[in-house]
């Protein structure tokens, strides 16, 4: 059953066996505890209810019994009060005048003697015939035959005396009473305005008899029962009187009946002394209603604070006369038993159920252990077998003969083990095959890379060279057995700017820069434009190592699983290629210059020969008129040459003052038109001006004039001196536009792509330099504008010039100076 520590992969806190046992215990314990608790609760309730009802019944029965006891005593006293001898004596005393002087003196004298205890005086009352009569009644002589007076009742009467209608003592037995009683509560209560009323006085301590007593006062009526003529008063020791009745009722160890009054004073109790109040004053209102009942109170009235069940019932007849009427007081029985005792049966039951329940749980635990062992042993066997399978060490099949699902599971394990063994065998062969394939692939890749004549590096993210091919090894003098990886810049001895650049490109993915380069190359290059600032050498993907120049290119390789991506670098030795390229550029430049020179020469030669010829003609010309005509021709030829030179200068001349100012596009167009009109024959050209008005653009006025003049010249020449020239200006959001449209033959489609090339011209030799459009476009582009040419063959050509407009806020202020500035060059040009 023990597990080897090495075999356990991690510590399990609760084994299967412990869980099974705990589960069984929980399954057994929870219903037991719940059932026990509920049974205890319900049982307690029922016992309480049953006890309460029993206590109530007992209290009622006891109340009835005590009530009868009191009633018997009252009846006996009433019998005395009905005695004719007593009545006639008291009637006589009533009728005897009391108010004359002698009687008063006699009474006070008698009172003094009585108080002093003078024997004759005392004897005159205590031993007079009426007292003797009372004693006879007291001893039971006048009882009906067979009616015996109980000894206890007789003994409990401590005083019995009779007063007349004035409250004066008439006769007495027992202890010596006071002489006058007309001011006492009981006398007044019993006399009750001469009507008479039974008066039972509540329990109190009487010093004469040295005990807690209650009294019964019965009025003595006259023989007509018309009015009270005296009161018969009986003082009874409460404890002695009631204890035989109450103390007899005992049940269990603590159960008993007691009698209390409505103030909670104990009249009789087997446990508490008479005259003491109940220990808990809050209990009194609960147990002294005028109906019988039972209550569950938080104290027992006997000093205990435990929850108690108390039965109670009033004494109906006695209560009616207590202190004169039921409102003034009442007597109640009180039945109580200690809670421990009441609930003892259910507690015993609880204890026994707990004991047997514990025994049952122990049994359950034992059986659970046994059952768990039966289940767990094969499971552990399976677990060890599974571990062995995991290590591939299970040689012997698992042997479990439990005949249940576990046996089936073991068989499944065995089958699985066999299948795994078979599968593993096939898998190993396949892995070997794939490994060989991968190795072959790698070798072939290496061979291919080695066969490539350009150096190739593979670099990881930490700038460590992961692979170099043979060409790289040879180029950079690496030994064949050079251990890799090694830092990239140790392999390539670069100067620091190149190193910096390579590192940037390497970090920034290396490819973005190359794309930028190619996109720039797409813009056609103007061979005449200064090449110095257009392509800085450090933007080329090239670097020098020693005297060699290398063109490089980055490429990204897909990352192998679990490895960082590797970036490849291909180098190409372009030292020779670059040299050839430079030579080619030089040759091209020389060629261009040749064409230019030829063009200029050609352009200038014709008028120059004309001038020479005309000059020779003038030398020999006699006629002044003709000489003047030749001179005019010379001037015209000179002007033409000047135009050629100006055009040429416009192409090559240095652009000075790139500062643009706001100028009026319409005015500049008009000036350009004036320049053209002064130089060309435009008599048959109709000029239409469709000006938008107030169109201003940012430009230099003289250059803008030249560009516009070139365009207008082209238009005029295209129309061959006859047609309509339409000049339109317009202004839209931040852009000023001027359109120069002619009604010439248009440009053939095959020429449209070439019209901006320098020296391209459709005109005849000597008519144009082929630079006009080139110059115009360069100027306009310099200002940030654009020149567009649209041509509809046979209908005419339209040049559309768009130029940036000054910000609207600049307003008229800037307009005036720019206008005056543009005045002087235009004046100079037009002169």
């Amino acid at each position: 059953m023990s597990t080897t520590p090495s075999a356990a992969p991690r510590k399990t806190r609760w084994g299967l066996k412990a869980k099974l046992i705990v589960s069984m215990l929980v399954v057994g314990t929870v219903p037991l505890v719940i059932g026990l608790g509920m049974a205890f609760w319900q049982g307690s309730r029922e016992i309480r209810d049953v006890s309460g009802e029993s206590f109530k019944a007992l209290a009622m029965e006891a109340a009835r019994k005590l009530d009868l006891l009191v009633a018997e005593e009252i009846a006996q006293t009433a019998r005395m009060a009905n005695d004719p001898a007593i009545i006639s004596e008291l009637e006589h005393r009533r009728d005897t005048p009391q108010h004359h002087r002698g009687a008063a003196v006699e009474t006070s004298d008698f009172e003094a003697k009585w108080a002093a205890g003078e024997p004759n005086t005392v004897r005159s009352v205590m031993e007079n015939p009426l007292s003797a009569l009372l004693r006879e009644y007291y001893t039971g002589i006048h009882n009906a035959p067979g009616q015996l007076q109980p000894q206890i009742v007789r003994a409990s009467t401590k005083m019995l005396f009779l007063t007349d209608v004035h409250g004066l003592l008439v006769a007495a037995i027992g202890e010596k009473p006071e002489l006058r009683h007309d001011r006492t509560r009981w006398w007044q209560g019993a006399y009750h305005k001469a009507v008479g009323r039974l008066f039972i006085e509540d329990i109190h301590f009487d010093k004469r008899v040295n005990a807690y007593v209650f009294t019964i006062s019965v009025p003595v009526m006259d023989q007509l029962r018309y009015e009270v003529v005296g009161v018969l008063h009986r003082v009874i020791d409460a404890k002695e009187f009631f204890s035989p009745a109450t103390h007899a009722i005992r049940f269990g160890k603590t159960g008993h009946v007691m009698l209390i009054d409505s103030n909670g004073l104990v009249i009789s109790c087997p446990i508490l002394p008479t005259g003491v109040p109940l220990s808990d004053p809050n209990l009194v209102p609960l147990v002294t209603p005028l109906q019988p009942g039972w209550v569950q109170a938080s104290s027992d009235g006997h000093g205990g604070r435990s929850t108690s069940v108390i039965g109670f019932a009033p004494l109906p007849e006695t209560s009616r006369a207590t202190n004169g009427s039921i409102e003034n007081g009442s007597w109640h029985t009180f039945v109580w038993q200690a809670s421990d005792e009441i609930f003892a049966p259910i507690q015993h039951l609880f204890t026994w159920v707990t004991v047997f329940g514990t025994a049952g749980l122990l049994l359950l635990a034992g059986l659970g252990y046994f059952a768990a062992s039966r289940i767990v042993t094969p499971v552990r066997k399976l677990m060890q077998a599974a571990r062995a399978i995991g290590r591939g060490e299970l040689k012997t099949p698992i042997d479990i003969r439990s005949g249940d699902e576990l046996e089936e599971l073991a068989e499944e394990f065995n089958r699985m083990n066999q299948q795994l063994n078979a599968a593993f065998a096939g898998l190993t062969d396949q892995v070997e095959l794939k490994t060989r394939e991968v190795q072959a692939l790698q070798q072939s890749t290496d061979h291919i890379l080695d066969a490539v004549s350009t150096p190739i590096f593979l670099i990881d993210a930490d700038e460590q060279v992961r692979y170099v091919n043979r060409a790289a090894r040879e180029s950079f003098g690496m030994r064949l057995d050079q251990s890799l990886p090694m830092p990239f810049f140790d392999v390539l001895p670069l100067d620091s700017p190149a190193r910096q650049r390579l590192r940037q490109e390497f970090r920034g993915d290396g490819t973005a820069h190359a794309r930028e380069q190619t996109s720039e190359r797409k813009v056609p290059r103007d061979p005449l434009a200064p090449a110095g600032d257009q392509e800085p050498s450090d933007h080329r993907p090239e670097f020098h190592i020693g005297s060699r120049l290398y063109h490089y290119q980055w490429f990204r390789l897909p990352a192998r699983p679990g490895q960082e991506p590797v970036i490849g670098l291909v180098l190409r030795d372009t030292t020779d290629e670059s040299r050839l390229h430079d030579q080619l550029v030089q040759a091209e430049k020389s060629g261009s210059l040749g064409v230019l020179t030829a063009g200029i020469g050609h352009e200038l030669n014709n008028p120059l020969f004309g001038i020479i010829g005309l000059g020779e003609a003038i030398q020999e010309e006699q006629s002044l008129e003709r000489a003047k005509a030749h001179a005019r021709d010379i001037v015209a030829q000179g002007r033409r040459m000047a135009t050629v030179i100006r055009d040429f200068a416009g192409v090559t001349g240095k652009e000075e003052g790139d500062q643009t100012v706001p100028v009026s596009l319409e005015e500049e167009t008009d000036r350009a038109l004036a320049i053209v009109q002064s130089a060309s024959d435009m008599k048959n050209v109709v000029v239409k001006k469709l000006y938008g008005g107030g169109v201003r653009v940012l430009a230099r006025p003289d250059q803008l004039q030249q560009a516009l003049a070139n365009l207008i010249t082209n238009a005029v020449q295209a129309m061959k001196g006859t047609g309509t020239l339409t000049l339109t200006t317009a202004w839209s959001d931040r852009i000023g536009t001027v359109t120069i449209a002619d009604s010439g033959p248009g440009i053939p489609k095959q020429h449209l792509s070439k019209i901006f090339d320098p020296f391209f011209t459709t005109k005849g030799q000597g008519e144009g330099s082929g630079l006009g459009l080139t110059v115009a476009r360069r100027i306009i582009r310099k200002f940030g504008g654009e020149l567009r040419i649209e041509s509809d063959e046979g209908r005419g050509t339209t040049c559309i010039v768009t130029l940036p407009a000054p910000p609207a806020a600049s307003g008229e202020d800037t307009w005036t100076p720019s206008a005056s500035q543009s005045e002087s060059p235009s004046a100079r040009l037009s002169s």
């Binding site: 009637e91 305005k193 023989q223 007509l224 018309y226 009033p314 039921i326």
Partner: protein, 198 residues
């Protein structure tokens, strides 16, 4: 009204004074003269009895019977504890007690030859004989003068019938009742009205 009353008083006074001056020993004593002028005690007792009967009848028929029929409240003997209505007999006894407590001298109570409580038995021979007489001849009250010591009283005793089923059922079922075969309208006892003569 006042002036008439005053006039009558003056006339009476004058008559008495004149009578005294004139009459001397030949005139009857003042009491007798007043008695002759005043209301005879049997008449007074008759008035009182009529009031008592009327009160109790109203109480019995208009209060107890109606409340009992509606099931709201019934009349029981221990009405104080039970918080119910007093029985009609108790009603009369308690009013008698209240009248006695008022100290005016006149008293009345219920008596019977077969009482539930002994205190309601006849107190004197006169009462006993009156009850016997009334049993045979209930229509006429028995009247007479009785004495207690030196005191003299006029007593009128009227037959009392079972006016309500409550009376019959209570007396026939009460454990302390000595006679349990009463029927409605039987003479169950008597109302004794006592008027002091001093």
């Amino acid at each position: 009204m006042d002036s008439i009353r005053v006039t009558v008083r003056i006339a009476v006074c004058a008559f008495v004074i004149v009578g005294c001056l004139w009459g001397g020993p030949s005139f009857p004593p003042a009491e007798e003269a007043l008695g002759a002028e005043g209301i005879p005690p049997d008449k007074v007792a008759d008035y009182i009895h009529a009031i008592l009967e009327a009160n109790r009848t109203i109480y019995t028929t208009s209060i107890v019977n109606r409340l009992q029929e509606k099931g709201l409240l019934s009349a029981t003997e221990h009405w104080e504890q039970d918080n119910t209505l007093p029985l009609p007999a108790q009603f009369l006894q308690h009013t008698g007690r209240i009248v006695a407590e008022s100290g005016r001298g006149i008293r009345f109570r219920l008596i019977g030859l077969s009482p539930i409580y002994q205190r309601n038995a006849p107190a004197t021979q006169f009462e006993r004989q009156a009850l016997e007489t009334l049993r045979k001849r209930p229509e006429q009250p028995v009247t007479g003068i009785v004495t207690s010591g030196k005191k003299r009283y006029f007593q009128a005793i009227y037959a009392d019938r079972a006016v309500s089923p409550v009376c019959v059922s209570c007396h026939n079922t009460h454990p302390l009742s000595p006679k349990q075969d009463f029927k409605l309208n039987d003479v169950m006892g008597a109302i004794a009205i006592t008027i002091p003569l001093e």
